[in-house]
C-alpha cells in the first residue's frame, strides 16, 4: 500500500502537470514579492511627498508652548489657530488671494488662447521659414529667461516702441509694478514658459487628422472660422493640460512677479517677504515661532491649488494622456 503511494507520487513528480503547477506557484511567490517591493516603494515615496504637507498642517495648529514640549510630536495638545490667524493677517490673505488667483486666471486664458493659436500656425501651414521659426521657439524654451532679466527690467522701466510713446507723452512709460509687462509678454507668446505650451499645441495639432479641416474648407469655412469652431473644440484635452500648468506656474511664480510686480501684492511674493516682516513689524525674534507662522502661510497659499487640483485631477490626467506632449 505504502509502496504504491510512493510510486504514485514519484510518477506524479515527473509528470508535466506537476512541473506546470510548480512553475505556477513559483510565479505566484515571485509576483507576490515583486508586488510587495512595489507597494513598499510607492508607499515610501508617497510618504516623502506627503510628509511636508502633514508637517505644515501640524505646524499651523501647534502653539509655541507645545512646540517646545519634548513630549509632543506632530499632534499638538492644545491646538489653536493662532499661527494661522497671524499669517492670515500678515499676508492680507483675502486680498492677496484674490489678486493672485485673478491675475493667474487672466494669464491662463491668454496663454491657452495665444499659444494654441500660434501652435496651430506652426502645425498646419507650410509657409516659408516655418522650420526656422519653430527652431527659434525651441531656442526660447532652452535659453533661460534669467539671461535676459536685466535688459527686460530696463526695457519695461522705460518702455517705448520706436520712440512713439515718447513722442506722445514726452517720456517713456515706467511699467514696473504694473501688470502690463507680463500681460504684454503673454499676448505675444513670450510669457511664463509659453514656448513649452506652443510646443505642446503644435505636437497636438500635428496629430489631428487633416480631413477635419479639408471638410470645413470644402463647406466654405474660412481659415479663422475653421480654427475657432473646428480645431479648438478638438483640442480640449491639451487646452486643459496647458491651462492647469499655466494657472499653477503663474500662481506660484516668484521670478516674474518679483521682477516686475514686487508691490502688486501677489501671494507668492508676500510669502517670500513674510519672515522679514514678522521680525520687523511684530518683533517676533524666536526663529521657531517664525517658522510656525510661515508654515501656516504656506498652507494658506497652497490650499486653493490643492482644492482645484482635487476637483480637476481626473481631467488633468486624461488630458495629459491625450494631449500630445509625447508627439
Amino acid at each position: 500500500m505504502d509502496l504504491q503511494l510512493v510510486q504514485k507520487a514519484k510518477t506524479y513528480t515527473k509528470s508535466e502537470d506537476f512541473k506546470l503547477s510548480v512553475k505556477k506557484s513559483e510565479n505566484k511567490v515571485k509576483n507576490f514579492f515583486l508586488n510587495l517591493v512595489i507597494i513598499i516603494i510607492l508607499i515610501g515615496t508617497s510618504f516623502v511627498i506627503l510628509s511636508p504637507i502633514i508637517g505644515l498642517v501640524s505646524d499651523s495648529f501647534m502653539p509655541l508652548e507645545d512646540f517646545y514640549n519634548p513630549l509632543i510630536y506632530l499632534i499638538p495638545e492644545n491646538p489653536n489657530a493662532q499661527n494661522l490667524i497671524t499669517a492670515f493677517k500678515q499676508i492680507d490673505y483675502p486680498k492677496s488671494l484674490a489678486i493672485s488667483l485673478g491675475f493667474s486666471v487672466v494669464i491662463m486664458l491668454l496663454q491657452a488662447f495665444i499659444c494654441s493659436f500660434v501652435g496651430y500656425g506652426f502645425a498646419r501651414f507650410d509657409f516659408p521659414g516655418n522650420k526656422i521659426l519653430f527652431a527659434l521657439v525651441v531656442l526660447t524654451i532652452v535659453v533661460p529667461v534669467q539671461t535676459i532679466m536685466v535688459p527686460l527690467y530696463t526695457q519695461f522701466r522705460g518702455f517705448d516702441i520706436f520712440g512713439i510713446i515718447s513722442l506722445i507723452s514726452g517720456k517713456p512709460l515706467n511699467l514696473i509694478n504694473t501688470p502690463y509687462p507680463l500681460l504684454l509678454m503673454t499676448i505675444t507668446g513670450m510669457g511664463l514658459r509659453s514656448g513649452l505650451f506652443i510646443y505642446i499645441f503644435r505636437q497636438f495639432f500635428k496629430g489631428l487628422p487633416k480631413e477635419l479641416e479639408s471638410a470645413a474648407f470644402i463647406d466654405g469655412a474660412g481659415t479663422f472660422y475653421t480654427y475657432f469652431f473646428i480645431m479648438l473644440p478638438n483640442a480640449i484635452p491639451s487646452i486643459i493640460t496647458v491651462m492647469l500648468f499655466a494657472l499653477v506656474w503663474q500662481y506660484n511664480d516668484v521670478f516674474f512677479s518679483s521682477l516686475f510686480m514686487e508691490n502688486m501684492g501677489f501671494l507668492s511674493v508676500k510669502l517670500t517677504t513674510l519672515a522679514s516682516k514678522l521680525s520687523a513689524q511684530l518683533q517676533i525674534r524666536d526663529p521657531n515661532q517664525v517658522k510656525l507662522i510661515i508654515s501656516s502661510g504656506v498652507l494658506l497659499t497652497i490650499l486653493p491649488l490643492v482644492v482645484i487640483y482635487l476637483f480637476l485631477q481626473k481631467y488633468f490626467m486624461e488630458g495629459i494622456e491625450r494631449s500630445g506632449i509625447v508627439g
Binding site: 516603494i41 511627498i49 508637517g55 500656425g121 507650410d126 534669467q146 527690467y153 521682477l259 491649488l305 488633468f316
Partner: protein, 305 residues
C-alpha cells in the same frame, strides 16, 4: 488662356499661417531677440541708473567678465557648484521618474490615489513654498542640512535623526566624505522626488503610447520581462528621455543658486553690467551642457518611423 495673377490658392493658404504665428514673431523680436542682444551689450558695459528713470551706458570692454571670473569672491565657486549639482541630479531624476512612471503604469488597486499624490509636487512647484517644505521635511524625517544642523541639535530632537547615524558611522571609522555624501543623498531625496513631477507625467504618457501589440509579440516569442524592458520599453521611450533631460536641466538651472547670485548682483547691488555678465556666463555654461548632453543622447535615441 489667361494666367492668374498673384498667388495660387494653396500658396495663399500657406501664407495664412503667417497670421497665426505673427503674434509670436512680434514677441520674439520685441522681447526676446532684442533683449538677448541687449544682455550681451550690457555685459560689456558699465550701467548707471539716472534719477529720471533712464540709464546711461558706458563701454567697459571685458571688465565685467574679468571681475566675475577673476576677482569676485565666490562667483566661480558657486558657478561650478551649481553646474556640478545639475550634472549629478539630472541622471538621478531621469531614472527615478522613468522607474516611477513604469510602476504607475501597472494596474493596481488605488492607482488613481497614488497618481494624485505623485503629481502634488507639480502643484507645489514654487521656490518660496519649497524652502519652507524642505525645512519641515528635515524636522519630520530627521534629515539634516548644514544650516539647520545647529538648530536641530539645540532644540528637542524628534523622530529619526540622521546625525545619530552619522555619529555612529564616524565611530565606525568611515571617512568623513563618504558620510557627508550619504547624509546629503538622504536629504536630497525629497528634492529629487519633488523635481520629478512633470518628468513622470511625460514618461507615463510615453508608456501609454506604446502599442500593446509589441508586448503581445514579445510574450508569444517567450521574452522575459527583462528583455522586454530593454528591447521594447526603453527604445520606445528613449526620445522622451532626451526631452526630459533637456527639461530637467533647464528646470534645475532656473532654480539654481547661480541665478540667484546674478539676480542679487543686478537688483540688490544695482550692478546691472556685472549681473548681465554673470547671466551670460552661466547661460553659456548651461547651453554647453545642453548641447553636449543632447548630442550624446540623440546618438542613442531610437526614432520610430
Amino acid at each position: 488662356m489667361k494666367k492668374k495673377k498673384g498667388l495660387s490658392l494653396t500658396q495663399r493658404q500657406k501664407l495664412m499661417g503667417l497670421y497665426f504665428v505673427a503674434p509670436w514673431v512680434i514677441g520674439f523680436l520685441l522681447f526676446f531677440a532684442y533683449n538677448l542682444v541687449e544682455a550681451v551689450v550690457f555685459s560689456f558695459s558699465k550701467i548707471k541708473i539716472n534719477d529720471g528713470g533712464g540709464f546711461s551706458i558706458t563701454w567697459a570692454g571685458i571688465e565685467n567678465y574679468r571681475y566675475a571670473l577673476r576677482e569676485s569672491a565666490d562667483f566661480v565657486r558657486r558657478l561650478t557648484e551649481s553646474m556640478g549639482s545639475i550634472l549629478i541630479d539630472v541622471p538621478l531624476i531621469t531614472f527615478f521618474s522613468l522607474f516611477i512612471a513604469i510602476l504607475l503604469n501597472r494596474k493596481f488597486k488605488g492607482r488613481a490615489l497614488v497618481r494624485a499624490i505623485f503629481f502634488l509636487p507639480v502643484i507645489m512647484a514654487s521656490a518660496a513654498i519649497n524652502d519652507t517644505l524642505n525645512s519641515n521635511l528635515e524636522a519630520l524625517m530627521g534629515g539634516m542640512s548644514n544650516t539647520a544642523a545647529a538648530q536641530v541639535t539645540d532644540t528637542t530632537a524628534t523622530g529619526l535623526n540622521a546625525m545619530v547615524f552619522a555619529g555612529a558611522l564616524m565611530d565606525f571609522g568611515m571617512p568623513n566624505q563618504v558620510i557627508e555624501y550619504l547624509v546629503g543623498a538622504v536629504s536630497r531625496l525629497y528634492e529629487i522626488i519633488r523635481s520629478s513631477g512633470v518628468q513622470i507625467i511625460i514618461f507615463l504618457a510615453a508608456l501609454q503610447a506604446i502599442s500593446p501589440s509589441l508586448y503581445e509579440v514579445a510574450q508569444i516569442e517567450g521574452a522575459t520581462s527583462y528583455e522586454t524592458f530593454w528591447k521594447i520599453t526603453f527604445p520606445m521611450v528613449s526620445p522622451l528621455i532626451l526631452t526630459n533631460v533637456v527639461y530637467t536641466i533647464i528646470d534645475l538651472y532656473s532654480q539654481s543658486d547661480i541665478v540667484e547670485v546674478a539676480h542679487t548682483t543686478a537688483f540688490t547691488s544695482l550692478d546691472f553690467g556685472l549681473g548681465a555678465a554673470m547671466s551670460v556666463i552661466s547661460s553659456l555654461c548651461v547651453c554647453a551642457i545642453l548641447g553636449i548632453v543632447s548630442f550624446l543622447i540623440s546618438k542613442k535615441v531610437f526614432y520610430q518611423s
